[in-house]
């Protein structure tokens, strides 16, 4: 039933209670400023967060509210201006390249724009082989590697045999994001940061991709941090939700808590802005 969006995306009945589970990623007073002096942009401003093992947590906010920035910080791709990040109970240490590589075994990402996520000069095989090599599969036989790549591709409904020797840009946006998920399937990280993985593709592919992410979570128990501007989508798939406004978390809690009993005005506005198909739009609020 992988490809039926109506049945699979609505996971609200399958929410797990995560509070009892151990923390895998948390932050205290995490801050990121860009620029100096007058031109300073407070992209992320002293935020606290706690993500548990196996949790699917959404970070919701408008465009430009500063969602990508924390994800880059969590990935260790940009430096942190202030604050501490804890990975599996310990303060994160990525001071050397070696430690960074170690850290990236535990945390991986899917980026916002599939079209710019791949090196256009590398074949699809290269992308997937890199993942196998990173997981210590360098010495495996060619056949074994091929088998692993085929399995990863079939998990995301791609036919590997047809893709060998192709380049990522020869795929559609949806196929590229699925290839991204195949990467994650091979890498099996503890934490996956998905930064609006569906914002650049159509609704049907979106359902497929969300379904694959959920399946991945259920099979491997990985934590998924799902970044989105779509609060309705967040409500459907996530266990807990963080609402971000201008670089600050204005509200957080379990999905039901945040959506059904919103406290912050910003959350209420976000919820009321969700277009409902069966109602006439009230254009005065837009």
């Amino acid at each position: 039933m992988k490809n039926d969006p109506t049945t699979t995306v609505n996971m609200s009945d399958h929410r797990i209670d995560v509070k009892s589970r151990p923390l895998c990623l948390s932050g205290k007073g995490v801050t990121k400023y860009f620029g100096f002096g007058k031109k300073i942009t407070k992209a992320v401003d002293h935020v606290d967060f706690e993500f548990h093992e196996g949790e699917l947590v959404s970070i919701v906010g408008e465009s430009g509210s500063g969602k990508t920035t924390p994800s880059k910080m969590l990935l260790g791709l940009i430096s942190v201006t202030d604050g501490d990040i804890y990975f599996q109970g310990q303060k994160r240490d990525i001071s050397t390249r070696r430690k960074k590589r170690e850290y990236w075994h535990g945390i991986q990402a899917i980026f916002q724009d599939p079209f710019s996520s791949f090196n256009t000069f590398n074949r699809i095989d290269t992308v997937l082989l890199d993942c196998i090599n990173m997981r210590g599969g360098k010495h495996l036989s060619k056949e074994k590697k091929f088998e692993m790549m085929t399995e990863a591709c079939s998990f995301v409904n791609l036919k590997f045999a047809e893709l060998t020797n192709k380049y990522p840009f020869e795929l559609s946006g949806g196929q590229m994001q699925r290839l991204m998920i195949a990467r994650i399937f091979l890498l099996k990280p503890k934490i996956l940061l998905a930064d609006e993985p569906t914002s650049m593709i159509d609704a049907c592919s979106r359902a497929t991709i969300l379904d694959m992410l959920l399946q991945l979570r259920n099979e491997t128990g990985m934590t998924i941090i799902f970044i989105t501007h779509d609060i309705g989508l967040a409500y459907h798939i996530s266990d807990s939700i963080y609402i971000m406004e201008h670089g600050k978390f204005v509200e957080s809690g379990s999905a039901d808590e945040v959506i059904l009993h919103p406290k912050a005005a910003y959350t209420r506005r976000l919820i009321s802005d969700v277009p409902k198909i069966h109602e006439a739009w009230d254009l005065t609020t837009v």
Binding site: L75, W104, H105, A109, F111, N119, D130, M134
Partner: protein, 415 residues
């Protein structure tokens, strides 16, 4: 890759530039094959022999002759020795003694001679004419009379006793076949001030100048690329240091630097390759700057982030995730570096600070010689015009190729 190449060669601008460049290159490669030997050898004793085919007069005398009776041969012969000044002074004499010359066309040699022969008398001395002028008219008349007579020329040679002995007679109707003359030399571009074959020199100079351009371009592009990649990608202190050095080199005009360095090296030690090295070492700054800014815009792209997340090393990221994206740009920068290095060499040589003059000719040296020996004042166009033309063609073709590449790689520029 193949596709890109096809696209590049479908760009008309690139193609035209490429064809011109290859043509110039072929001249440099092929001409020395047909005409081997040292291009700096002085074959002529005089300076600036005009372009043309030269036949050994000595050999021509002994060569078997054929007889042709051409109606206009005499007239042509006369016309060729009668210069415009001669004609004007003839008319002057005629008017001075009161002959009516209205309606006479002085370019019509026959008519002019007829009226001259009918009227000239060396005993008549028009008023106001000096003795010297009179004598020059007498000698002019003698010249005309001897030509008109179509006399047979006798070639004499002294025998053992020193007696002059007749070798052969040359009739005015004798012709020799150029192919039968043993020594014939064709100088399509004449000779220069030292009596060297200009075309041979030019072919060799193109080779040397392109070599200088290539070596200097390689050095400049390599340094610029490495520094730009490192400072752009690694950033931080390394970036500060590299930019500091780059800024110093940018503030001092590189041409001034070139002049100073070349001057301090000294004429004796400046081989062509030394000059290429110096040009390369002083012209990498703008490649560094532009590569750096390209790398900075690339280093935060998601595909680089993905590569980092895949645990790739810095070297691998730079080589596979950055370099291919700027490769087309680097190729274009390289082409421009070659073209500017060739021009730099020409400028330096014009100032007398180019490669030493005894080893190989370069385009700049040839211009330098032409200028030193005032070829431009004497109207010896063959000594400087082809060189200027070749320099212009090389730099035009390289820039045209560059524009063509630019249009292929940046489709927004296409019109």
């Amino acid at each position: 890759m193949k596709n890109t190449l096809r696209q590049v060669f479908h760009s008309p601008k690139f193609l035209v530039g490429f064809i011109i460049f290859v043509a110039v290159l072929l001249l440099a490669i092929l001409y020395p094959l047909f005409n081997p030997g040292n291009p700096l050898q002085q074959i002529g004793l005089g300076t600036f022999a005009p372009p043309g085919t030269y036949v050994s007069l000595y050999d021509a005398v002994g060569t078997e002759t054929s007889t042709f009776r051409l109606d206009d041969a005499d007239a042509k012969r006369l016309a060729s020795v009668l210069s415009d000044e001669d004609r004007v002074s003839m008319v002057n004499w005629l008017t001075a003694v009161g002959v009516d010359v209205t309606g006479l066309d002085i370019t019509d040699t026959d008519a002019l001679l007829e009226i001259w022969n009918a009227n000239y008398d060396q005993s008549i001395r028009p008023e106001g004419m000096t003795n010297a002028q009179r004598n020059s008219y007498i000698s002019l008349n003698n010249r005309l009379q001897s030509l008109g007579a179509s006399e047979t020329l006798t070639v004499m040679q002294p025998d053992e006793e020193g007696e002059m002995e007749e070798v052969t007679d040359i009739e005015s109707t004798d012709y020799v076949n150029v192919g039968d003359v043993t020594n014939v030399i064709t100088l399509p571009l004449g000779t220069d001030n030292f009596g060297r074959d200009v075309l041979k020199e030019l072919a060799s100079a193109i080779g040397t100048s392109l070599m200088i351009g290539l070596v200097a371009g390689c050095i400049a592009t390599f340094i610029g690329l490495v520094l730009g990649l490192l400072s752009g990608y690694v950033g931080g202190v390394l970036d500060d240091i590299v930019m500091f050095i780059t800024n110093i080199f940018t503030v001092i005009p590189s041409f001034v630097l070139l002049i100073l360095i070349n001057y301090s090296i000294g004429q004796e030690n400046r081989g062509a390759m030394v000059v290429a090295l110096v040009i390369g070492l002083t012209s990498w700054t703008w490649t560094t700057r532009s590569v750096r800014s390209q790398v900075i815009s690339l280093r935060n792209r998601d595909h680089v982030n993905l590569s980092k997340l895949s645990g790739h090393s810095l070297v691998r990221i730079v080589l596979t995730d950055i370099l291919p994206y700027i490769a087309s740009y680097v190729v274009m920068a390289f082409i421009l570096q070659i073209s500017s290095a060739i021009l730099s060499e020409a400028q330096l040589s014009l100032l007398g600070l180019g490669p030493k003059t005894t080893e190989v000719p370069t385009l700049g040296l040839m211009m330098n010689w032409a200028m030193l020996y005032s070829a431009h004042l004497g109207g010896k166009w063959w000594a400087y015009f082809p060189v200027i033309g070749v320099i212009a063609l090389i730099s035009f073709s390289l820039n045209l190729m560059n524009t063509g590449l630019d249009q292929v790689f940046n489709p927004t520029l296409r019109d």
